[in-house]
């Protein structure tokens, strides 16, 4: 691809692990808690480098969230780590009362989000977590797209005073963003300027949107691509500026249609700039076992689905 060079293929969870390790060296208030998934979350480096600041809590996520809230009271900046399913749905009430309502400086870091967790199947493939977290007042919701961006986001959220949900994934995916780019919470990233349609994507689907754009260009369609790494607070200005130009939108995410990025964009457009919108997201369904790519295709959230959605939305202009 011309515009976006793949530097390598890496998992976003490794970006989290690298960012956490760097924070361990630069910020002595950063502490980490993990619920028996240290290897999966790539928290080993932090654990080995700072054993006094690492808390292995065992398979007890509710206690982990409560402890993290308590650690903030002593001025610590706790990063909790487990799978996205156990980071949100399992502990929603603990997050709601002890973290969000109490506005504690806890960073809830969630790996293996979405379908690309793969073979473990629907029990572990949470597709509702963005919705659950964005509904909570005080909560910032971040969903970076590749290794470099996840590392940068991990470092950036330590500087933000307040609860954060950081969502990332399991598989190795193209790593293409600038490793030196500073992560600015709440600022959308226009990856490609275009005029015919605005494609707004988050997480793993950002690369899929880039792949789709090449197919679209060959068809004579010139798309604008926006990476929304911060779902809440949403960069409304960037979205509206783009839609004002293109007059139609496709959203793309590895999440349920209800409650996801597309839902946030739809709310914004209907209130401030009604225009045709198509959503590439899972349509009211649980996932299943399989390879990540197979699942993205089966649940209609792969590259070709973005292309099809663009053609549909342009026809509605």
């Amino acid at each position: 691809m011309k515009d976006f060079e793949i530097q390598n293929h890496k998992d976003t969870r490794s970006g989290f692990g690298a960012g956490l390790s760097e924070l361990g060296k630069t910020n002595e208030n950063v502490v980490a808690l993990c619920a028996d998934l240290t290897g999966s979350l790539k928290m080993d480096a932090f654990r080995d480098e700072h054993p006094d600041r690492f808390f292995q809590v065992g398979i007890a996520e509710a206690n982990m969230i409560g402890m993290a809230a308590g650690l903030t009271i002593g001025g610590k900046i706790p990063f909790t780590g487990t799978f996205a399913n156990f980071s949100t749905g399992r502990v929603y009430d603990q997050i709601r009362q002890s973290v969000a309502y109490s506005n504690k400086n806890v960073k809830i870091c969630a790996s293996h989000a979405g379908l690309t967790l793969g073979e473990d199947g629907a029990t572990h493939q949470i597709l509702e977590d963005i919705g659950l977290m964005k509904m909570l007042p005080n909560m910032t919701v971040i969903s970076p797209c590749d290794y470099n961006e996840t590392k940068a986001a991990t470092i950036a959220i330590a500087e933000h005073d307040g609860p954060v949900y950081l969502r990332f994934g399991r598989p190795k995916v193209p790593n293409f963003t600038d490793p030196d780019k500073k992560f600015v919470i709440g600022k959308a990233d226009v990856l490609r300027e275009g005029k015919d349609v605005t494609i707004i994507a988050t997480g793993h689907l950002v690369w899929k949107a880039i792949e789709a754009s090449e197919i679209l260009l060959a068809k004579g369609i010139n798309p604008e691509i926006i990476n929304i790494h911060t779902i809440k607070p949403l960069d409304e200005k960037a979205v509206l500026e783009s839609v004002n130009k293109t007059k139609c939108v496709v959203t793309a995410e590895e999440h349920m249609m209800n409650g996801g990025l597309g839902d946030s964009i739809a709310q914004l457009l209907i209130r401030k700039m009604p225009n045709p919108l198509e959503m590439v997201a899972v349509d009211d369904s649980f996932g299943e076992s399989g390879k990540g790519e197979e699942l993205l295709t089966k649940y209609n959230i792969n590259t070709t689905n973005i292309v099809d959605a663009v053609e549909r939305v342009i026809s509605r202009k």
Binding site: A62, T72, Q94
Partner: protein, 280 residues
């Protein structure tokens, strides 16, 4: 402070509780009355904390977390009399715009409260986190908690209990309000919990027991608990109390867990509680 002085405070706190819940016809008088002696002793004699210098961080101070947040009336009254805020603010309890929310909250910056509670079972985990932060900060202060006995039915309590013992969190003193009552009835009818002290011992905690209405015994037991800190084990006090203590028709029944008295019942209750420090 003399025990007699503390008892004077408890009488006024009990009056405040009855008046607060009657005024808004909502709130939880039973458990509040039952924990009055403990919280008064804790805040006026045990806790090393300066009300006028309250911060969320509580650096260099003992911390207290009320895990069973529904007994907020007793906490608010004790905090007010201890000087965290003016006693006149008790009149705003549960009213629109108040800092004295139905269950404790930090959303309006009420001095004395460091985290929300109300949804049960979360306070022990929070306290363990705060205790861990104290250790990292080389702060030798102690973290205290209070829990309802019914609250122990929440699984998170036992997650936290295992963690604290397994990781030698020995700067924490938890207290259980063992009144054998919960909203739906006797604990033994709703969900029997067996021998509580043995359960905590089996989980690896140092267990003490005390009468929650004998201030001399409370002070002695708290002193003993403090001596036991720093020895590699977390400490829990199983405190026997009577729900509704101090008001004859409220005592020993779950019916006053979450129900306010009528104005006539309030008058009877107040006739049994001496106004020692002046009503708010």
């Amino acid at each position: 402070m003399e025990v007699k002085e503390l008892e004077k405070i408890t009488s006024q706190v009990r009056r405040d509780i009855v008046r607060m819940v009657t005024a808004v016809q909502s709130g939880h008088p039973g458990g509040s009355l039952g924990c009055t002696d403990f919280l008064t002793a804790l805040y006026f004699e045990v806790l090393n904390a300066e009300p006028s210098a309250f911060t969320i961080n509580g650096k260099g101070e003992d911390l207290f977390f009320l895990s069973n947040g529904h007994i907020s009336p007793v906490l608010y009254s004790v905090l007010a009399h201890r000087g965290y805020f003016d006693v006149s603010e008790l009149a705003t309890f549960r009213k629109i715009g108040t800092r004295l929310q139905g269950h404790p909250s930090v959303s309006k910056n009420l001095p004395g409260v460091r985290i929300a509670s109300g949804s049960l079972g979360q306070g022990l985990s929070v306290a363990i986190g705060a205790a861990a932060a104290k250790k990292l900060n080389n702060d030798n202060s102690i973290v205290y908690t209070l829990h309802g006995d019914g609250e122990l039915q929440e699984g998170q309590i036992w997650e936290a209990s295992m963690y604290a013992a397994g990781n030698r969190v020995d700067n924490i003193i938890a207290t259980i309000d063992y009144n054998h009552k919960q909203i739906d009835g006797d604990i033994d009818e709703v969900l029997p919990m067996g021998d509580l002290s043995k359960k905590w011992q089996a989980f690896g905690w140092e267990v003490l027991e005390m009468d929650g209405h004998n201030i001399t015994e409370i002070l002695a037991t708290m002193a003993k608990a403090k001596e036991l800190t720093g020895n590699g084990k977390p400490i829990v006090i199983v405190m026997t109390t009577i729900m509704g203590k101090g008001v004859d028709f409220m005592m020993g029944t779950h019916k006053w867990h979450g129900s306010p008295p009528s104005n006539e019942q309030e008058a009877i209750a107040l006739s049994q509680l001496e106004e020692t420090l002046g009503d708010y």
